[in-house]
Every structure is written in C-alpha cells, then in structure tokens.
C-alpha cells in the first residue's frame, strides 16, 4: 500500500513562468530516462529479487522516484501557470496546448509519449540491477543537460537536488549488486537463474 503525503520532497519554485523550459523538462516526467519510468522500473523488479536487502532498496528508491515525479509535475505546472495559447505557440509547444490545455501529459522533450519499452525486467537480479545503474546514470546526464538549458536559479536549485539523488541511487544500487553477487557466489556458480543444477 502507498500513502500520499501532502508535501513535496523538496520545494519547487520558479522565478517566472517559462513554457519553453517546461517543454524540455517534461522529459523527466514522461521521457525514456524520466521519473515515471524510474519508479515503475524499480517497483516492478522487486518480485524477482533474491534478497530482502534488494527488495527493500527497490521499494524505497521506487517510492522516492514517485516523489521526484511529483516534483517534476509541480515544476511543469508552475512553468506554464497563466500561459496563453500564444505563449505555448511561441515556445514551439502549441501542440501540447491543443491536446492538453494546461493539463500534464507523459511525453519526452520531443513530444513522444511514454512507453513501457523504456523499462526492462528480465527477472534476473544481475541484469536488472545493472539496468537500474545505467538508468540512474542516464537520468543524471539528462539533469545535467537540463541544468545547462535554464537560467532560472530556483529551477537550477531543484534540478541539482534531483541530480544528486541520481548519484546516490547509483551508489546504493552498486552496493546492492555487489551484495547479490556475493550472495549468489556462496550458494551456486552464478551463471543465470535457470542453470542451477
């Protein structure tokens, strides 16, 4: 079960609305390396993990990613607050206004809708944790690109917060991978789930 807390993990402020940057940062909402994909990837991979530590870590990081998704949603909301159809058009995001008005939608920076193809679950802890580590790196780099694309110090501040969370998650997944490899090594030669006998 999940409980909703009526608070963001970290404050989200903008100096002024900026539809052009909303168009870009929405990729961390519904893009290939965004927070929706991250949370679903980790929460879905829990069931085939062989250790309690790995299940706990995926549960907790998956839950934190949901909070990051909400921060990005709040950012897009604030960046487009009060924007007119002409503002959307001027920012090259007229299609967003036509289809969604001020509503949010899961797309990347090029308008491509979110897809389950962005995430994987092989049911193999080594493959899945390695995928998770790569996902954290890709999200980190995307945040670096986004930080370069805005001059708003408030926006930079919250993006830096999310950026450093990717660094921490990568570290924890790496420790978890080491732990799993040790766990597997003790019990059997590790060459895949189905080749145990």
């Amino acid at each position: 079960m999940w409980i909703y807390e009526k608070s963001l993990q970290h404050p989200v402020k903008v100096t002024r609305p900026d539809v052009g940057f909303a168009k870009l940062v929405v990729t961390q909402y519904g893009g290939p390396d965004g927070e929706l994909g991250a949370s679903l990837r980790y929460l879905n991979q829990r069931y085939s993990m062989p250790t309690n530590k790995a299940i706990a870590l995926l549960t907790d990081i998956g839950t934190e990613e949901l909070a990051h998704m909400e921060m990005i949603a709040a950012l897009v909301y604030k960046l487009t607050e009060g924007a007119s159809p002409q503002d959307y058009e001027a920012a090259g995001w007229g299609g967003q206004y036509v289809q969604h008005n001020h509503g949010l939608f899961w797309t990347d920076a090029n308008g491509v809708p979110w897809s389950a193809q962005y995430i994987a679950c092989l049911g193999d802890p080594i493959a899945d944790l390695t995928e998770d580590m790569a996902a954290e790196q890709k999200a980190r780099v995307t945040y670096e690109h986004l930080i370069e694309m805005t001059n708003d110090p408030c926006v930079k501040d919250m993006l830096r917060f999310l950026w450093q969370r990717e660094v921490v998650h990568f570290q924890r997944f790496g420790e978890c991978l080491n732990d799993i490899q040790e766990h597997m090594g003790k019990k059997n030669m590790w060459c895949g789930c189905t080749i145990k006998k």
Partner: protein, 85 residues
C-alpha cells in the same frame, strides 16, 4: 491562512525527512551500521514531533487516517496542495 508559517513548518519537515530518506537508503545496503541506525532513530523522533505540530495547526499531512484526526469541515480538502504552496 498563514501561508508563510505553513511553508516554513513544511520546510523543517522536508529537511528532517530528507535525513530519514537518505539514512533509510544507506541502511538498506548497510543494515549492521549501529551508528546509522541511531542517527535514523533520532531523525524519526524529530520528524514525528515536527509532523505532529504541523498537523495540529494545518490538518493531516497524510491521507487514509495516517495523518491523524480531522477537524470540521474535513481538513484534507481544505489545505493547499503541494504544487500550490
């Protein structure tokens, strides 16, 4: 509604909650670190106090009964949403 006070009380919750999140993830991969468990428990103690004080003034922070009692009218729909603060 005293928005400035609400924002500042919420910020204090966010700060200590971040300490708890960070220690929680660390402990997931270092479950035998007694010092970190002690730090985590200290953070939880402070967090509970700050949440209680906030909820007494502004209503439940969590839904489904996890945020404590409600005054009348139903406070959950009254207080601002995170993206509105």
């Amino acid at each position: 509604m005293n928005c400035e006070k609400q924002r500042s009380m919420l910020k204090k919750i966010q700060e200590i909650q971040f300490v708890a999140v960070e220690l929680n993830l660390y402990l997931d991969t270092h479950p035998c670190d007694a010092d970190a468990i002690n730090d985590f428990n200290c953070a939880v103690q402070i967090l509970e106090k700050r949440k209680q004080a906030y909820q007494d003034e502004f209503g439940p922070l969590l839904n489904f009964g996890f945020g404590g009692y409600s005054k009348e009218p139903w406070q959950w729909v009254e207080s601002p949403w995170p993206w509105e603060i």
